[in-house]
Symmetry: C2
Subunit: 641 residues, 2 copies
């Protein structure tokens, strides 16, 4: 028998090591080692994001367009296309690991400030009608003359106290009940779910009436979680983290593809569950709340994220005729989903509409109060995917336009998320073409995030760096435009000024990806309105939600033709409406039931086979749009320059 030689791989700057056999995939070695490396293609060499530098040892890499011959000589390689042939030392660029920095310390005491930039009464206010109730009950003592069993006496007290008929008591509670009753002199605290008539927990009389829940949004890119006092509605703490599934692919489609691999679904699931467990722990530790007092988790997320979270295969979301297994998952105990620390809590979820319009959108519509408004309202959730709902209290239609992750940094070489070191605002100097920028966190820039990219695209267009098709104007004397091997790069930050020691730039491939993303969003809006015979000017209110929507410059978004050219005052930013809706449902059974009603009322329009959508999408591959009449303000700006 031949024992296969194992090679020692050392990753810098972490100084983590792992032993692997010959020909092992380098990206897999990174993942095995617990190092999250970015990737939006799931490891097939098409996104160019898992780039590393091998400083010692031999490797064998497939050819690809992301590594120049010169870079190759210096040891640069895409880890996903690289096989290991000896002991190695591998340097992972700082930029690739930024997300781990921001993951720390995101716990903060927060009040309900999210919506401070909008009139409170426009949105659904928190309404406290508890349906998960904690209360003390006195149980009649047994005597020789009243010797009925413990459960009967408990049920009698609970029924009297809560005015209900039937109670479901799980065996696990029966296992504790007799001692708890006797040790607490027949007065205990119960936690009860009125929506399912289930007794969730029993506790001793040293407890108190307080009980808590988590509102959780599982986004493709970001996880956000509130710890909520169910009795007062107070948000005691918030935690957020990047969705660690990113390492398996940045968008929904890549995640679904990964889920089909052997063991893939479990890996995706384990990754997100582990992050959620970490957030639960941080929130509990930070708030000093007893884990036993957490009774519920309300989860919202797009359909793919929800399938993965519950361990249900999302595969058929991506295969014709594009359907989910279910839009509403059965309530289940937290521990059955491998959530730790809060083993007594029940996990509830917000019902989705369909494959590409999930519970996150239902939740958002609930939070915006759209379904109760008279005004015609457009709700845009701009995350990794773009989803939109148009309507009012009479009707609602919605669609999804796969904008792709370009505005979140995917498919753009120097694109990163809105973390410290990200360029978030851009202005280009007229005629000199020098780029001025603002960076998050007062650091040297390391990349450019969504709002920066929107500014950049708009500025490049307005200042003539690119033409309407998104191609560089090469004959304007732009000294920041470099050409390497026939490819052009517009340099925003010189290597010496950047935090990475490399140029920060944008090229035509990047621009093309951004154009496609913005075209998808705009043509989605236009097509959706036309389905109900309305046009852009009929819209009275636009709510923008989602990770991307939080910081963008509306004016820039209009210039590039992503958002309709209507009165800017109609726009409002809402941040994460998905977690907001989950929060509202946690506090009120009426709201929770109402979310189901909303899910049932939204008519879904499938755009992927809609010819009008395709026409408009093609028209959207110009700046701002083929037909300038759609963008009168932009037209006037062009003339004014």
């Amino acid at each position: 028998m031949v024992v296969q030689r194992q090679f020692l791989i050392r990753f810098l700057p972490d100084n983590k090591t792992i032993k692997v056999p010959k020909d092992y995939n380098l990206r897999q070695a990174l993942l095995d080692c617990g190092i999250d490396i970015e990737s939006s293609c799931g490891g097939v060499g098409t996104c160019g994001r898992c780039r590393v530098q091998v400083t010692k040892g031999r490797t064998r890499s497939k050819r690809n367009k992301f590594i120049t011959p010169d870079e190759k000589k210096k040891g640069y390689a895409l880890s996903c296309l690289t096989k290991i042939e000896s002991d190695l030392t591998v340097v992972i660029p700082e930029r690739k690991k930024l997300k781990s920095k921001i993951e720390e310390g995101l716990f903060e005491k927060t009040t309900d400030k999210l919506y401070s930039n909008i009139k409170k009464d426009e949105l659904a206010a928190a309404e406290i009608k508890p349906w998960i109730i904690k209360d003390s009950v006195e149980i009649e003592k047994p005597t020789l003359n009243y010797n009925v069993n413990d459960l009967y006496r408990l049920e009698k007290s609970v029924k009297n106290k809560l005015k209900i008929e039937n109670i479901f008591v799980p065996i696990r509670i029966l296992r504790e009940l007799p001692f708890l009753l006797r040790e607490n002199n027949w007065e205990i605290f119960i936690t009860f779910d009125k929506s399912s008539n289930t007794l969730l927990n029993i506790q001793g009389n040293n407890s108190e009436k307080k009980c808590f829940g988590f509102a959780l949004d599982i986004g493709t890119t970001t996880l956000v979680m509130h710890l909520v006092d169910l009795t007062t509605g107070e948000i005691i703490g918030t935690a957020s983290e990047y969705n660690p599934q990113i390492k398996f692919g940045e968008d929904i489609i890549n995640r679904i593809v990964y889920s089909i691999k052997k063991g893939g679904l479990n890996k995706l699931r384990d990754a997100v569950i582990e992050s959620i467990n970490g957030m639960i722990l941080r929130l509990l530790a930070g708030s000093k709340i007893n884990e036993e007092d957490v009774a519920a988790v309300m989860v919202a997320g797009n359909s793919t994220m929800m399938h993965i979270f519950y361990g249900v295969p999302p595969r058929f979301i991506r295969e014709e005729p594009y359907i989910t297994v279910t839009n509403k998952f059965t309530n289940i105990r937290a521990c059955e989903l491998d959530l730790k620390y809060i083993s007594n809590a029940i996990v509830y979820s917000i019902e989705g509409v369909t494959s590409y319009l999930g519970g996150d959108i239902t939740s958002g519509v609930l939070a915006t109060n759209l379904a109760n408004k008279k005004e015609l309202t457009l709700f845009l959730d701009l995350g990794t995917n773009g989803e939109l709902v148009v309507g009012n209290s009479e009707w609602m239609i919605g669609c999804s336009c796969s904008a792709g992750p370009a505005f979140e940094g995917g498919g753009v070489r120097c694109g990163i998320r809105a973390v410290e070191g990200a360029i978030e605002k851009v202005v280009i100097e007229q005629d000199a073409y020098k780029c001025f920028y603002e960076v998050i966190g007062d650091k040297k820039p390391v990349g450019i995030c969504g709002s920066g990219l929107i500014d950049l695209l708009g500025e490049m267009y307005l200042k003539g760096v690119i033409d309407r098709k998104g191609k560089f104007n090469k004959d304007i004397g732009n000294t920041f435009l470099k050409c390497i091997d026939g490819d052009y790069y517009y340099v925003l930050v010189d290597a010496e000024d950047s935090g990475t020691g490399e140029d920060i730039f944008i090229n035509e491939v990047d621009i093309n990806n951004l154009m496609r993303a913005k075209a998808a969003i705009y043509s989605g809006i236009k097509t959706l309105l036309e389905e109900v015979d309305l046009n852009l000017n009929d819209i009275e209110k636009v709510f923008i939600a989602g990770g991307l929507g939080k910081n963008i410059n509306i004016q820039s978004a209009i210039v590039i033709g992503m958002l309709p050219d209507i009165d800017i005052k109609k726009y409002s930013f809402l941040g994460n409406t998905s977690v907001r809706g989950a929060y509202l449902c946690l506090l009120s059974e009426d709201r929770y039931r109402y979310s189901e009603e909303i899910a049932g009322k939204i008519t879904y329009i499938e755009l992927s086979m809609n010819m009008k959508f395709m026409d408009r999408y093609i028209a959207g591959l110009f700046l701002p749009y083929t037909d300038l009449k759609d963008f009168p303000t932009v037209e006037s700006m062009l003339y004014s320059i």
Copy 2:
């Protein structure tokens, strides 16, 4: 630091070894080693059943009445009172391990023969009204025009097929659903519980309509399990085993005492679950039935057994005011109770009446059809505990009389259960006092079982070996009566004729234990009748169930004053009515609901504080009874001898 010396203990004839520290308890070492040694007192030295012989090494034993000084010299000791002081070789008497022999090979193909000695129409017949249903359903294929989710389409088909409104579908089924539907061309088999509207299982179209269940009786001494075809009612196989909890104590009280020890409840539970898993495996293997096709387990048992089975502390059954945690346990998945192989099955249970009148009695009353009869009927379940119900379709009252395990071999030195080698019938020769006997299984006798003991007591009384108080007549020239150290022993079988190489005998302590057991049963019957102003002759029908009741000679039981002296034709033996009732409930939801009605209708009479019961119990410590007028037949037999 002093490392404690470990001693090597070798048990013969098993040749099992274990290392334990000095002063370790010998019985505990036996249990640790996986050797089941009998014990009815739970290890406190009062039953004398855990006797072993130390053939090599030093021990230290507490004094006790069970080991004579002569025996002590030979190394005999009660293992529970013995501490280890050196390496040991310990011989375990063959007789103590008989039960393991009978446990093997009890699987047998059986038809419904149990009740052949009684007219079928007197008892509740099997009624097949399936409520756990397996059927194939066709699910509409999704298309681009009918692109609703998998669950919705499944629910629609199931609702149509079964004519129901709501369906509960667990997450685990959603995890399999999409693949199963597509791999089976949208036609699958479903297993559905109509009582809870829960989808239990989904299977591919290569399955069939058959589905199966287990009916299980958890007795204090014996476990019995039927494998049942839910569509035809056929009993495909039966398995039975001694309840392995016996090693922790033979009766309910000793088990409860053990459950209070640290880890005790879990040990008791693990023991019985392991046995049940073994039976499940044997029944499945013997029948070649696919474990996936098992949908339900219906369990009956006394309240203590049920508490332990579900892991719910039984402690307060034994403490004033003697109440259960619950009489009806919530339905739960088999795997949540650690039952193996049948992870999709749901465990249902039969509701009990109260602490000492459990679901086994409800089940028995259902099986006898007592609650539908016009005739006044007495139902006696004579197992390790004696329970009785008197009544008819108008009313029912019941009680429990702690007869103790004497008739099952507990508290009687040579007593054993009805296994191979047990003396089951006894006749004593007039004037010569020689004992003639029949042995189960054509073997040399190794002990005497319940029916043998009843015969023996009756014969000893009728033939003058003992007087009415159960004391030996020492002046009648009985050559089989031996005296050792002032204690008298009536020898039934000489050492040279016995299978153990020792005398098989009975002494006055044994007789006293038997007298107390029979007195408890009779005074229970008499007291219960008096509660409703009836007397013995009003009884029109007596059903005897339970392990003990299967083989006894009614005439002998009347002679000793255990059963009322009424027309023998009124008596019928039914065997195990607890498992029978569970079987009936498994086949019909009506019956299952009816069992709950029965549990609610039986009025429980507590005898432990009933003065009349105590008076009669004292009166019952004579043979057959203080007042001979209660036993006219016995009186006439005495005169005829």
